[in-house]
Amino acid sequence: MSIFVNKNTKVLVQGITGNEGSFHTRQCLAYGTRIVAGVTPGKGGQKMDGIPVFNTVATAVKETGADASLIFVPPPFGADAVMEAADAGVSLIVAITEGIPIMDMVKVKQFLSTRSCRLIGPNCPGIITPEECKIGIMPGMIHKKGHVGVVSRSGTLTYEVVDQLTKEGLGQSTCIGIGGDPVNGTNFIDVLSAFEADPETHGMVMVGEIGGSAEEEAAAYIQAQVTKPVVGFIAGLTAPPGRRMGHAGAIISGSSGTGEAKIKAFKENGIHVCENLGRIGRICKEIF
């Protein structure tokens, strides 16, 4: 078992003919993901590596029965792509695109609240259920099937964590990057509750960073609802206030969003805090 995706998930790629889209489509295919369709407006009827390309998501879904979408379109069109997928009935939307304006995302968020679909991202590495399905840009080879659920706001930082887990012999049930933007689709709590309900997930790693209050809210949720062990890490303790640390959402505004407050919330709510990233694999080995 796993959460949100498995070997039966049928994926379409929006922006499949672009540089990034075609490169990562091939990587996902090589990993074993069932990519059934691509969408690039104006290129309907073409094929990419044998995958049929459609003009619209609605047609792609109708023709292929795709139930998940992977989005690589440029930021000005990112919000539109998410809404197109949602309207076409895709149940899982993974938006890799970095740089979508926040005003677009708040509108998308309200729009999605009236649809029954899940958005992961934007500005995220995607989701992977090791040895079954990879919908995203993460390096597949560092992952291993197992029982640790990983959820993170970051990309490469997640790879670092997963790599250490795998080297310690700890495989993963599902790994999800929820994205580094201030407004995103799926949040920590959505993922934590799914891991809690998944019998194959025995423990969780939660990787947060400065900015906002999602980690604090997740910590309170864990205290109240999660029975499985959780290891937490926060990046950005040395970040100066008022500066955007690469991710649009990684910013300390006044006194809110500091790393110290997040670590305090973790500790107060029974989360095992890892204070040194170099040791997160070993800490998980001891706890799980």
Binding site: K109, G155, L157, T158, Y159, P182, G242, G246, G278
Partner: protein
């Protein structure tokens, strides 16, 4: 992207948000001329820098005559203004704003910002204007008015009334306030702002409301659809190294430590800074070359870090995913050849094509220390600077 108060007020005026009459001035004589055009004294001479707390730092002063304007402008232009937001090094004042003095009946607070948790625009207001709003929120949260606006619906009449009544405005000021807030919301949405703050918003003796200060921050991700706003960027307010890095699409922030670092990915870059600190050293920067950096970008990143005189050692931490380790190694070697490396460099690489990457570095004759993992890298970098 931040802009100056005088620029924000010019934009406010275009959206019918009332502001006092004022003129920017870049020289003493321009300041005197501007004051003369305002139709009487006193006028306010305001230093224009991208930081709050200017009043307390001596950057906002009242002048009662042309001679006083001349003297104050002479003092302020070129001075280093230090506030709680500039850091100890302060900012050099290069621009002034000369504004007509106002008869203030009451000082209020009004701001609009994006609320991450609810994905709405939130209006914050308070009767305690002119003060540090975080302090008000911490000590007397009941004195903060908060109204959430659904971005699909826009601001509604009842919301305008709610804020106005909660601010306990006199009846005669209510219509003017509703119009101000409604126009301010229109400005916020039309220009993709992430923050608009007016502190203080003033109520005058004749029941007018107007913005006495103006702080505006735009969502950098949305600037592609606001080419006109790009002209408002003031490079004088930015670190020259950060400006250079931004031209190569590198996420770089200059800090005050002595360990330079280059990392791919923002989260890992932050964590790497933390590791440097944990090991007893201090990061000189934040540098995220991005997930899919080219050899040329890496070369520029390395060159920028090496050009920083406070850097005594460099830690390179790469987890190759999209960015392959061999591509990265080539960039490092090219930059080192061109710039010359005079400080110790510790390299930790993992991920895609790591063997090829390590080979390129080994074959390069560069004096690099390789680290087996993060813990090892932290120890080696601390040993190099301590």
């Amino acid at each position: 992207m931040k802009i100056h108060e005088y620029q924000a007020k010019q934009l406010f005026a275009q959206y019918q948000v009332p502001v006092p009459d004022g003129r920017p001035a870049f020289t003493v004589s321009e300041a005197v001329t501007a004051a003369g055009e305002l139709g009487g004294y006193p006028v306010v001479v305001k230093a224009q820098i991208h930081a709050g707390g200017r009043g307390k730092g001596g950057g906002v002063k009242l002048a009662h005559s042309a001679e006083e304007v001349e003297a104050l402008a002479g003092q302020m232009l070129g001075m280093t203004l230090k506030t709680h937001q500039t850091g100890p090094e302060g900012r050099i004042v290069k621009k002034l704003f000369i504004e007509a003095g106002q008869k203030i009946e009451k000082e209020l607070y009004l701001s609009l910002l994006m609320d991450r948790a609810t994905a709405t625009v939130v209006i914050m207001a308070s009767r305690d204007g002119g003060m540090d709003i975080e302090e008000v929120a911490a000590k007397t949260p009941e004195r903060i008015i908060k109204v959430h606006v659904d971005p699909l619906m826009g601001i509604q009449g009842y919301q305008l009334r709610q804020v106005g009544f909660d601010l306990e405005l006199p009846k005669a000021a209510m219509k003017g306030f509703s119009s101000l807030l409604s126009n301010l919301y229109r400005f916020f949405v039309a220009n993709d702002c992430s923050l608009v703050e007016i502190n203080p918003l003033i109520l005058t003796a004749d029941d007018q409301v107007m913005a006495l200060d103006a702080k505006v921050d735009f969502d950098s991700n949305a600037l592609f659809r606001h080419k006109d706003l790009l002209a408002l960027r003031d490079l004088d307010e930015e670190d020259p190294m950060e400006v250079e890095a931004s031209t190569y699409n590198l996420n770089y922030i200059n800090l005050d430590g002595n360990v330079g670092n280059i990392v791919n990915g923002a989260g890992l870059a932050m964590a790497t800074m933390d590791i440097i600190k944990n090991a007893g050293a201090s990061p000189a920067n934040f540098m995220d070359v991005g997930g899919g950096a080219s050899a040329e970008q890496v070369e520029n990143a390395f060159r920028i870090i090496l050009a920083d005189p406070k850097v005594k050692a460099v830690l390179i931490n790469i987890f190759g995913g999209i960015l392959r380790c061999d591509v990265f190694a080539k960039g490092v070697v090219e930059a080192a050849k061109k710039t010359g490396v005079t400080v110790p460099v510790v390299v930790r690489m993992e991920g895609t094509n790591v063997a090829e990457g390590r080979q390129i570095l080994a074959d390069s004759d560069l004096n690099l220390t390789s680290a087996s993992d993060l813990a090892d890298a932290a120890q080696k970098i601390a040993a190099a600077v301590n």
